[in-house]
Symmetry: C2
Subunit: 370 residues, 2 copies
DNA sequence: TTGTAGGCGTTATCAC
DNA sequence: GTGATAACGCCTACAA
């Protein structure tokens, strides 16, 4: 493979000017069919492929967009990767499961799918990157890696530190998925789900269909807007049923299985289990389920448990978990769609979209009133 | 936000030449500290961000690589996406699970993670795209979308038609994950796992530790090289234990849960269940498990079941499934690593890497001999 | 150490 | 319908 052919090579081969070659590619109808064919032949003969860089430079846009996902694991621990061909097979007995946090990645992967899909439909290329860790030192690296190569950015909540976010935002359009930094909600293009409404509907269902009057809220970290919105919905749901939210205990978890596992364990030992444990996410609901199962507490007979997010495990746990499913793929698609709008019209006011969620009823609350 | 600032703006602001600005960015040590600082100030004052296109054009490389994943769903069915803000929540009872094929995506997502990770480590940007469907019509679209913007490509097996693959290969470096088109195995840079060895070790384990002498192979589609290699390993395993491979029945599935579910159901009804069902992938093993469970057949007591791939469900099924785990993240990392080598040295001979797999023993074959 | 100038491969605006 | 030619924003000898 010699040097890559350019328009000049094609032009020479077809005996036309480079302008004509360009036209054949961009506006074929403005070229006489015969000339066009000659050029096309030359192109395929030489195996010519236009240079994206040159094209982007001239057109002043890249037709690419970037997506930042949160970093799952500690990237710090990632070392060299050694390429060694090794036709072998180890054997292990009952391998431990991965860190529980990994299941989060499912969420992101679906969002990614959505972005991929919609970018493809819109004729855009999608550039993907894991987010940055805390230190701002990585900014130069970030710049080199991505933002200089795209027309706009999609950022999943908390995948990029606020300072970096501010930096990027000054330079190119940014769409946030899930939520913006505190107090800047109406300055960003935003795509999110109706956390509040989902929890609201769920709580009302518990009261109306299952006669639950005593429920506790197992919260996530308080700095999470998701958690905040969900708690709001929880309170509103209670209130709309004539129940007093302040009478419902809050137990503070960390969005993790283990946190809810411990909390639930304590409640069992103290004998202070409510009729229903409403968890701020699925991971915690699963943790609660595990603790209850180990304690021999019947779900949903004695205690109802609900989650939030709709991760895959909810459909295979025992009992299967009632949850509020987020439309993750649509989140991605909506984000791309929003970004495209923003690129077309840079000065329009912020676009905010709230996608509906879906309450999915399963055994963990089913038939509990009977 | 006015027009984006360029080197010229920065140069003017700092009262230096554009060459100096460039040097500050690329080779800071060759600039007097004082000048450097002036330039840096101007840069941050203006919010200057170098243009990736221009840089790539001048440097004759993009520092980006592309990844093609197979398209999961039928993209044809994907329509417009309408942006509508809708603070709502539906409710459904016991929603059906997604199409079973979706679990495949887990596999790809992990590969993607690996690519992402290693690209990041190597300072490269990663461009992601779902593959193309059969028709070659999409080639122009493909060209515009991706190959013109990257230095090299990573392609997951069967995510791109062979014809398109041939086209791309002529124009830029391509690394295949899993396997190359038939009869071209030694022309490609390849990264794969030791399917053969994994199955071999598994089969020997079944014979030696569990005394299994009667086993059946539940195959995937025969056009799959994976399936072929695994079957080879199966046969070799038997042979090495003094058993005759041709005496072991093959049941032809489609890599899908339902196919194995039906096959297993038939075996139950016919009363022709072997001591062990060795499945070519996890999906089929799960299907078999389901059929056996419904028929009241004890696993592993009466029948041992094994899978291949190591998808997440294997760790939560009942009983949990013995399987051969593919190091999916490492596949991705190895692919990027290979591509980097190829880019550094375009003319070296094809690089082929085979990563070791890991046999994971769980209840579906545990204690079966006791 | 710093500046000048040519080139990277396209697109787009003019004339012809 | 086609062909010069000037951007596009950056890099990099080569000079100064």
């Amino acid at each position: 493979m010699a040097r890559k052919p350019t328009v000049y090579d094609v032009a020479r081969e077809a005996d036309v000017s480079i302008a004509t070659v360009s036209r054949v590619l961009r506006t074929p109808e403005r070229v006489r069919p015969q000339t066009r064919q000659t050029v096309l032949n030359a192109i395929s003969l030489l195996g010519y492929l236009p240079s994206g860089s040159a094209r982007s430079l001239a057109a002043r846009k890249t037709n690419s967009i970037g997506l930042f996902l949160p970093n799952i694991d500690q990237l710090d621990q990632i070392g060299e990767f050694e390429l060694t061909s090794d036709d072998a097979a180890d054997m292990v007995i009952d391998p431990p499961q991965g860190q529980e946090d990994n299941t989060d990645s499912l969420y992101f992967d679906e969002v990614l799918r959505g972005c991929e899909l919609e970018s493809w439909r819109q004729g855009l290329s999608l550039m993907v990157s894991i987010g940055l860790r805390g230190k701002g030192d990585d900014i130069p690296q970030l710049i080199n890696s991505m933002s200089e190569k795209v027309d706009g950015l999609i950022v999943l909540a908390r995948s990029v530190p606020d300072t970096v976010l501010a930096f990027l935002r000054k330079r190119l359009p940014v769409v946030m998925i899930a939520n913006a930094p505190a107090n800047q909600e109406n300055e960003f293009d935003l795509v999110r789900v109706s956390n509040r409404k989902g929890m609201y509907v769920l709580v009302r269902h518990l009261v109306e269909e299952h006669g639950v009057t005593s429920m506790a809220y197992v919260a996530g970290t308080d700095d999470s807007p998701d958690n905040g919105k969900r708690y709001e919905g929880f309170c509103e749901g209670l209130r709309s049923e004539g129940l007093e939210p302040s009478a419902a205990p809050i137990y503070r978890g960390q969005f993790s299985q283990s946190s809810a596992y411990q909390i639930t364990g304590s409640l069992v030992r103290q004998g202070t289990l409510p009729r229903a444990l409403v968890c701020a996410n699925d991971q915690m609901a699963l943790g609660a389920l595990r603790a209850l199962s180990e304690a021999g507490v019947d779900v949903p007979g004695q205690v109802i448990v609900t989650g939030f997010d709709g991760i895959k495990e909810t459909a295979v746990s025992r009992p299967r978990l009632t949850t509020v499913r987020q439309p993750m793929v649509d989140l991605g698609r909506a984000a791309v769609s929003t970004l495209v709008k923003r690129l077309e019209d840079p000065d329009s006011p912020p676009i905010s979209t709230e996608l509906p969620v879906r309450v999915e009823l399963r055994e963990s609350c089913e038939g509990a009133m009977d």
